[in-house]
C-alpha cells in the first residue's frame, strides 16, 4: 500500500495528462487548467518544507559551531526581519518596508552575484580559449569572431557581422538541433519510465 499507491497516482495523473493532449474537448481543457493550478499551489508547500529544513540546519549550526554562530544568526535575523515585515498582504505593495528591503537587500546581492559572471566570462576565456588542439582552436576561433562583432573595425566589422549572422543561423542551428533531439528523446523516455513506475528513485528512500 505504502509503495504501490503512489505509483498508481503517478500512473493515473501522467496518463491523464498525456491523453488530455490529444483531446480538444472542454472536459479535457478543464482537467489541464486545474492540474496546472494545483501543482503551482502544492509547490508553495514545498517552499515551506525547504524553509523548515533550512531553519533546523541553521539553528543546529548556531548551537554547535561557535565559529559559524555569527553567520547562522545573520541568516535567522534576515529571515525573521522579512517575515515580520511581510506578514500582511499590504506589505507586498510598493513602498512597504518589506518591498524596500527586497529592493535594497535582495536585488543588489542577486544582481551582483549575477554580474560576477562578467568577470568569470573573462577569466574563463583567458584560461580556456587556447589553441591546444584542433578542437580547442575551433572553439577559440568562433568565440573570438563572435566577440569581435562589438569592436568597431571599419570594413572588417561588416564582413565579420555577416559571418557572425551566418554562424548563428547555420552551424549553430544544426548542432543545437542535434543536441535538442537527443535530449528530447531522453526526456520522453524518462517521463515514460516515471509514468509506468519503472523509474521510482524520485520517491526517495523509506
Amino acid at each position: 500500500m505504502k509503495r504501490t499507491l503512489p505509483l498508481v497516482i503517478v500512473f493515473c495523473s501522467g496518463i491523464l495528462l498525456i491523453i488530455q493532449h490529444f483531446i480538444p474537448s472542454e472536459e479535457s481543457e478543464f482537467l489541464y487548467t486545474y492540474a496546472l493550478d494545483w501543482i503551482i499551489t502544492v509547490g508553495v508547500y514545498a517552499i515551506m518544507l525547504g524553509i523548515w529544513s533550512l531553519i533546523r540546519v541553521t539553528v543546529n549550526k548556531a548551537r554547535r559551531d561557535p565559529g559559524e554562530r555569527f553567520y547562522a544568526i545573520t541568516t535567522l535575523a534576515g529571515f525573521s526581519f522579512m517575515v515580520l515585515t511581510g506578514w500582511r498582504a499590504e506589505s507586498l505593495h510598493a513602498g512597504s518596508i518589506f518591498m524596500t528591503a527586497f529592493n535594497y537587500i535582495l536585488i543588489p546581492i542577486q544582481a551582483t552575484i549575477f554580474s560576477l559572471l562578467a568577470f568569470y566570462v573573462a577569466s574563463a576565456s583567458y584560461r580556456a580559449f587556447r589553441a591546444r588542439s584542433a578542437l580547442a582552436t575551433v572553439l577559440l576561433l568562433t568565440a573570438f569572431i563572435v566577440m569581435l562583432r562589438l569592436i568597431p573595425l571599419g570594413p572588417i566589422s561588416k564582413a565579420n557581422n555577416w559571418l557572425v549572422g551566418w554562424i548563428l543561423m547555420v552551424p549553430n542551428l544544426a548542432a543545437s538541433r542535434a543536441i535538442i533531439l537527443g535530449v528530447g528523446l531522453g526526456m520522453i523516455a524518462t517521463s515514460m519510465k516515471i509514468i509506468l513506475g519503472i523509474e521510482r528513485k524520485y520517491l526517495g528512500g523509506d
Binding site: I18, I47, P108, A118, N172, L181
Partner: protein
Amino acid sequence: MNLSGDIWVWVGALLTLSIFSFLYKDNPFYKFAEHLFVGVSAAYWMCMGIWGTLVPNLFAKLHPPLMKTILPAVAGKEPDYWYFIPLILGIMFLMRLSPKGAWISRWALAFIVGTTAGLYLTRSLRSDFIGQIQYSIIPLVTYKDGAFNFVGTISNIIIFLGVFCGLIYFFFSKEHKGAFGVASRVGIYILMITFGAGFGYTVMARISLLVGRMQYLFADWLGVISR
C-alpha cells in the same frame, strides 16, 4: 561628488561591495552577505508564495468571503470545491516533516511528479522532437528570385550535414570507427562551433549586468557620474 543620503542606498551599495570582494578572495564580508541573502530570500519567497499564490489561487477559491478584505474582487464568487484537492495534497506534502507520516507525503509527490512527467512528455514531443524533425527537412538547393542561390544552398547543405553528424556523435550503439567515426568527428567540430558562438554571444548580456551594478555604485550611491 553627490553622496547619497538614503540609508537603504548605502545598504545596497555595501552589500554589492561585499559580494564583489569575493573576486579577491573569500572573506567575512562576503560570508555575511551570503548568509543574509539565504535568510532574506527564504522569507521573501515564503511571503510571496502565501500572498501571491496560496491566498488568491487556493483560499479565495475555497472560501471567497473570508478573503474579501484582501481581495475585494472575489467577494461575489462562488466557492470552487475542486480546490480541496490541492489543499489536501499540500497538507499531505507537509507530512514529510513527521517521521511517521512521511509515507503519506509520497502521495502528493506522486501527483506532482506524474502530472509534470505527462506535461514534459507531450511538450518535448512537440517542441524537441516532431518540431525539430520538421524544421530539419529543408531543400538542399535553394533559389532566390528565380536564380540559383549559392550561399543559401551551401548553408542548407551544412545544416543538413550538421544535424546528421551531430546525431551520429550522439549514437552510442556503435563504436566510432571508419566512416562512422569521421561523421562523429565532424559532429563534434560543429558542436564546438556552437559552443564557441554561444559563449561569445552571451558575453554582451553579462557585461550589461556588470555595467548596471557599476552605475548603481557610481551614480546612485557615490553620485560621481550622472545616470
